[in-house]
Amino acid sequence: MVQRLFQDPAGTIPAILPGQPVGLIKRLAGSVDASQATALSKGTLARWPKSGVRMLQSRNVFDSVPLGPQVTPNFVSGFGVSSSSDGINVDVLDRGYEGGEPFIIVRMHGTNTLGATKFLNIQNSDILSGNYPITVSAKIALLAGSLSNNDNGTSVKLYSSFRRGGLSVNGTAILANIGPDLQAYTANPIATDGIAVDQIASRGLYLRIPIGQTVDATIKIVALQVELGAVKTPFQTVYNPNDITEAGVPDLWHLYNDGGDSLNVVLPAGTYGFATLNAVTKTPQIDSVVSDGTAPINVLRHERQADEILRAGAFSDTEIRAIQEYWGREFG
């Protein structure tokens, strides 16, 4: 296969991995290539599952979480892991992948000196608007120590909640009766409120420690996922927003445009058929563009773009149908 994507406009550094910039797309035929020399104006090579992305996290792997005592809260995992505080120590003992699914092992130990119920979280938060259900799920095991299965004791819960007007509206959390073997849990879905906009939403897992209680529990969490919809679906690994995979589902490679990116061609004066494929909706945009022979034309016109065709002369109706059918087979 001929390498067509490069990080630099000179075409010396191939772009082959998610997250790499694309400074040159070499033509399949014809006489011009599309290029971008300004570093922060280059599109980013990305891959998503062809089935689309269901996970809401910007990252759901734990391989960047520092091992050992958590001194400060960290968000590098995409989930915030609470730090040691108020008499409770939080130690990350291990993290990695098991069967392709990300896991983390956390030990929480000490006595709650907060003077109130203490919550230690592995959660993420962001701003949401709209009205749709969210489902939180994970596989959890208690590797050492003990936990209560009583809502008033030291217990583990999955949850989803959002905040409106300064007040928390909590989604239903389940009480996880966790044992030494990994079990799958799914919190009851919560629908965000379509009336309010820009709600702060949090979801994940927490350890609840009542006032004055002593705890020593080592918990393993595998495939912690937060997704759109009212039911749990197969896990998608989110390494970052431009690198998402799902076992058994082909990758859809595409270019990500953060809003300020472009890939430019300078064409001889004339009319050109111009077709691009939106990688998210799988919808083609097929029309034409006129070049004055001098001004560059940007071929990157979707936030996520899977393919583009540019050729001299507008497309006929027959050609438009052929492009639609071809892209339907290749990317559908």
């Binding site: 910039p21 300020g260 990116d261």
Partner: protein, 121 residues
């Protein structure tokens, strides 16, 4: 590769482009920051740019500058460099008219939220 997102107040756009010439990869990096495309909650305007770069790009932004082979206004570049702050969870900088804020992270929408920027109305 890391992704860096940078917000530049309108008055510092020209200087920031000179800084980009110093730490960038080619003369084309003098065009990094275009006309304002985002605003803060008070309506002040900013040019926002984001992209994958070598970690050295950010390190160079806070290190002594060297004039590149394609030339740059070093006084303007140094003035912009003096305005650079790096966002972190411990010091979550918000944009303001005197600061060039750089944020390292993969999620562009989260970066915009963290910086307090919205598209220009």
């Amino acid at each position: 590769m890391i992704r860096v997102s940078i917000a530049v107040p309108e008055a510092l756009i020209a200087s920031a482009n000179q800084l980009a010439l110093c730490i960038g990869y080619s003369e084309a990096d003098g065009l990094t920051f275009g006309p304002p495309n985002y605003q803060d909650e008070e309506g002040a305007l900013y040019s926002f740019a984001s992209g994958p770069v070598d970690p050295a790009f950010v390190e160079d932004a806070v290190s002594p500058l060297k004039e590149p082979e394609w030339g740059a206004d070093m006084a303007a570049a140094m003035a912009a460099q003096a305005a650079v702050v790096v966002w972190s969870e411990e010091t979550p900088e918000q944009v303001s008219e005197g600061k060039i804020v750089a944020l390292i992270g993969d999620d562009v929408q989260s970066a915009l939220s963290a910086l307090g920027l919205v598209p220009i109305e």
